[in-house]
Amino acid sequence: MSPDGSPAAPLSPDALLKTPLFDLHVELGAKMVPFAGYSMPVSYPQGILAEHRQCRDSAVLFDVSHMGQLRLEGPGAASALETLVPVDIVDLGVGKQRYALFTNASGGILDDLMVTRRGDHLFLVVNASCKAADIAHLRERVGNACRVVPMPERALLALQGPKAVDAMSRLAPALARLTFMSGGAASIAGIACFATRSGYTGEDGFEISVAADDAAALARALLAEPEVRPAGLGARDTLRLEAGLCLYGHDIDTATSPVEAALSWAIQKVRRSGGARAGGYPGAALIDAQLAQGASRKRVGMVGLDRVPVREGAAIVDDTGASIGNVTSGTVGPTVGQPIAMAYVAAAHAKPGGIVQAEVRGKRQPMRVVAMPFAPHRYFRG
């Protein structure tokens, strides 16, 4: 037996970075794997499927401290950030959070990120694999207009699941009253935190920024709640895929535009052609043209009609065998119980309901194009 895909040569264990929760992961029996330069838990002894179900049924805790946290400080921070993202940051209210994308000159995506406006600064969370490049990009492009302050002294925990709020109610009632895509500072079990009501699973939940020195104590306090068990990156991936959420470097990258990626919803009217602050970000002309005319290919969801899992890299063909696209993420959805995948396909094939063929080990597997998410979002909007 051997894996089909040969993973990139792993770094020697010594070269891997550790999050402040490394010792806790080992204590909990996690299987640690290299991810974005860090040693991260892919799963705990209960396994990916059980962790996935725990998140859909109750609550789980993820360590996402490998992700990049940073502040943009100064009165010009919001306007400055708008020169790098096609997103309305200037009008973002205090305590509100928004999904954003760094674009490049050809309209591709450099990274996706979360932006929260706090009283006197913007708080950004970016992907682990992109954080060094993002910080360099911000410093080079807007370093004169605002202060770019990386926060390596902070850890990030994600408490996710329908019962996350029950645990939070006991530990920090003020945070339990937040609504989806908003944030606030409070102490949780006596530990100073900044939390947002957001996540990467499609479930209700919180992402909690905490001083690295306090992270293990916070994690232990959250795991002591009866609803909460630990979950690793394996379950995080199946959960986000069922929720239809993109994984950077797979479903979106420098060669995919926000319009192709079906992320046009992230571009507010005010930043589109005719809006009060239209354009002014890298690739704006190309992206505006795609918003007006549509893109030639589009990210879609697909459900397998047979049981065969369809994975990243599989070719998508039409009934005549002509290539129409490729799969960027795929697994068997533990909640939906069927093979699910995201793919880029030619616009003519992007309509939900159509049948396309995925090529797996030389055989064609029929798949139905469907609207995402595969599992319904259950966010708390108040």
């Binding site: 037996m1 089909d4 799963s43 396994g47 049981r307 899992p309």
Partner: protein, 124 residues
């Protein structure tokens, strides 16, 4: 019982050379994680040693099952096809993959015995 192991973490029980049973080891199922799909060969098909005879897929990865010796498929585990999690819960008995008629039973001499396989895992 004459169980041998491959370097690729298959086991073969050649108690009956006309119907030797093949599966994956405990180590293999643990490395894969939750198995959600198996692709089993057609009965009657013949493979050379080292050829891909099947596929096992977990939520996170797909892995090939290699033929441990030349032979012809004489049976496949329909219970495993129906419930792939048997590969996790009982990889050495109920979670077997297929049975083969060995073309060259002497090929098994080159495979690992239990002691050698355990040694391989220790040094992995």
């Amino acid at each position: 019982m004459t169980v041998k192991y491959t370097n690729d973490h298959e086991w073969i029980d050649a108690g009956d050379i006309a119907s030797a049973t093949v599966g994956i080891t405990h180590h293999a199922q643990d490395a894969l994680g939750d198995v959600v799909f198996v692709d089993l060969p057609a009965i009657g098909s013949a493979f050379k040693k080292g050829e891909v005879a099947g596929v096992v897929e977990s939520v996170k990865a797909a892995a090939d099952i290699y033929m441990p010796a030349d032979g012809e498929i004489v049976a496949v585990n329909e219970a495993l096809r129906a419930d792939p999690s048997l590969a996790n819960s009982d990889p050495l008995t109920a979670g077997w993959f297929f049975k083969i008629r060995l073309a060259k039973p002497s090929e098994l001499d080159a495979l690992l015995d239990k002691t050698a396989y355990d040694e391989l895992l220790k040094n992995a």
